[in-house]
Structures are given as structure tokens and as C-alpha cells.
Amino acid sequence: MADSGFARRARPLLGTLVELGLPASQSDRAELAWRAVERVQRCMSRFDADSDIARYNAAPARSRIDVRPCTARVLRAAREMERRSRGVFDVSLGTGAWSLDGLVLIKHHDGGLIDLGGIAKGEAVDLAVRALRGAGVTAGWVNAGGDLRVFGDIDLPVLLRNEDHGGATPWMRIGDGALATSHYAPGSRSQLHGRIAQAHVSVAAPSCRLADALTKIVAATGDTRHPLLKDHGAQAWLH
């Protein structure tokens, strides 16, 4: 907006509202960020029948599915997080083993499903930010329904939504980093398998993909001082 010098745009993508902010004088570059987000949606959305993930989910056991490089990159990151969290982080949600051989995704069991959900959203945000920076955008942010990344010389105020009554409360400011928030409650989109009945879990981390993945680990363990947070230079809150 004119007051702050930032132009804001929002589109319905990734099953949520994706917002971006960039200096008004550079707003013509917003299209690059949208293209990056749409590419991730095409590759990794469960709901897009042609995506790599939807093709995996529909395939029988022992299928070998060719995946695009961006999908392979997120799958490798997911596998790494699974290993380091000793299986707490699991994009198959226990439905069956998978493996990745270069750009080939192998399904080991019938009924095996993958949902990259949050980390794909985080990846989309990171790639959108990379596209903007690559085009010379000096500062801004991308927020995919609570997966937020801020870059450049700006500290972005973040408000926390009240899930019971609507409205929002000032909470924090973040600059040059990412913040992912998930809400866990009966009936909410994100479901907890661990110890917390109802809470917001937020993680600040250097990248959005990492921040989103780490919210799952904090949610499942209830541990805001989980060693993986420190390893990745991240901080967590339950609130």
C-alpha cells in the first residue's frame, strides 16, 4: 500500500490464501513469485491428479514413478527429517514405505500414500522468495496460509489469529527468516498424534520448508526445546 511503500497481492493457491508483499516500485515482479508457487502446486498437490504425488498415491505397489526435480528435492528433505527425527516426521503417515532413486519414486506397498502438505507449502514459499530476490526485489514477504518468509531490511509484524472467535492479536516481529504456525484442535486441518490436545505450534527458522517440518516435530513431541530445533537454528512456541 502507498503508506508503507509495499504492494500486497493475494491469490487462492495451495488450498489456502497465498499473500505476497514487495516494494510498490517493484510490484511488476510479483508474477515470478506466483509462477514459483504454481509450479510447486502442479508437482506436489495431492488434489491435482497430474501431480507427482497424486500419481504416486494412485499407483499400485512396486510402481516406479518419474518425478520432477522439485518434487525429488522435497522428498529428499522429508527423508532427511524423518531420519533425524527417528521417524516422528513421516510424510507417509505410516501408510507404507517409499524410496527415491534419483528422479524415480518407488512405492513399496499398496495403499501407500504421501502427503507433502506443509513442507511443500514451505518449499513453495522459499522458491517464491528466491524468485523475487533473483529478480532484484530488495525486501518483502510471502505468506502461504501461515507459512511465512520475510526477506530484506524489514521486520514484519505478525498477528496471531484467535481460532475460537476470529480476530487477531499482535504477537511478534520477524525479519530475514521464516515462521510457520499450525493449529491443532479437534476438527482442524492439522491433526496431532502426540500429546497436545489443542494449541498453536509456531516455529521460526531460516527457511520456510524447515520451519513447517519442525512444527510437526514440536507438535508430535510437545517439546519446544527439541534438539533438532537448535541444530537448524530454529525456535519454537506452543501457545
Partner: protein, 185 residues
């Protein structure tokens, strides 16, 4: 990474006690969204579509989507005598939010672009009240409703955009019907 906490995270009570305020962002005015979607257009002609009950039934039967409203406002993007496409603006209501969005359609009725024009988050249940919704009618990006700092972002449960997606489908079917019936000439 720079993190500055306003309300201490340990003080859950503080968060619960702090008053939640309404939150509103204006992204684009009607004029801005038209120009963004059809930069080549030299003018936008307004068309009011009014459907009778029988037409609404036919739209519903053809698309499986309820047309919801009998009146639709369409802006036709033109360059000289050529029709470049259409812009339709609509509003949908979610759990606590009211979203105004615009759909840009090609002359053949396919969707070119969807842009959110404004996002309003209420506190409490006033979102269901017509008076609350009316106060935003006619607001544009040049007259933003300022709530707190105007670059603030919102975090929390992932907002579902199903109602926007359903709205886009509805607009596609309404426009398809209007085109077939020659109402956009």
C-alpha cells in the same frame, strides 16, 4: 533471522486476555484489478446480468453449482471493437473472514487469473451480520481500513480457500450460461 516477541510466549494468559481486533487488508480496487488483468484494454464496459428463476435453474442444472445470486456485475475488457475478456467481482464468507475477489476470464470463458481484492477477518460473530459486511462495500485500496500496522501478517490455522474455489466455479458457470445466451454482447 531476527525474532522480536511482543507478547512473551510463556505468558499464554496474556495472549488470551489481549483483545483480538478485527483485521483487514485491501489488496486491489476494482479499477486496479481490471487494469492488472487486462493491461491492453482501452476501456471496461459494465454489464449487469439479471437472471430469472428459470435461468437460475438452468445454470444450476448445467453446472451443479448454485448460482446464489440473480444479479451479477461484469466488466467487459475492450480494445477498440475487440473483446479481450471479462472481470467478475464476488464476495465469499468463511468461518470468520470475508474475501472479495475478482476472476478474469478469456472471451471463451476460461479462467485467466484470480486475484484477491480484500480480506477481512472479524472478531466475534458479526461476520454473519449484514451490517458488518455492508461497512466494507465500496472500500478500495485507496481508502484502506487501517487496523494496527498496515503491513501486519496473520498467522494461525491454515485458512481453507474452498469457498473461494467454489466461488470461482460458480462464476465460470454463470458466465458460460451468459455467453451462450448472448447476454454479454
Amino acid at each position: 533471522m531476527r525474532v522480536l516477541i511482543g507478547a512473551a510466549p510463556a505468558a499464554i494468559g496474556v495472549l488470551a486476555l489481549a483483545p483480538a481486533s478485527a483485521f483487514a487488508i485491501d489488496y486491489l480496487s476494482a479499477q486496479q484489478v481490471q487494469q492488472l488483468m487486462f493491461a491492453q484494454a482501452d476501456r471496461f464496459d459494465a454489464r449487469e446480468l439479471a437472471f430469472d428463476a428459470a435461468q437460475l435453474q438452468r445454470i444450476e442444472a448445467a453446472s451443479g453449482v448454485r448460482a446464489r445470486s440473480a444479479r451479477w456485475s461484469v466488466h467487459v475488457a475492450r480494445k477498440g471493437e475487440a473483446t479481450l475478456g471479462y472481470v467478475v467481482i464476488d464476495q465469499v464468507i468463511g468461518k470468520y473472514e470475508l474475501i472479495t475477489y475478482a476472476v478474469g476470464l478469456a472471451p471463451d470463458g476460461s479462467v485467466l487469473q484470480v486475484e484477491v481484492m480484500s480480506y477481512r477477518e472479524s472478531h466475534g460473530h458479526e461476520i454473519r451480520l449484514p451490517a458488518w459486511r455492508r461497512q466494507f462495500v465500496g472500500k478500495t485500496a485507496s481508502a484502506p481500513i487501517k487496523v494496527g500496522e498496515d503491513i501486519a501478517n496473520i498467522s494461525g490455522a491454515t485458512l481453507s480457500c474452498t469457498h473461494v474455489s467454489d466461488g470461482v466455479k460458480r462464476i465460470v458457470s454463470v458466465m458460460d450460461f451468459a455467453r451462450r445466451e448472448g447476454l454479454l454482447q
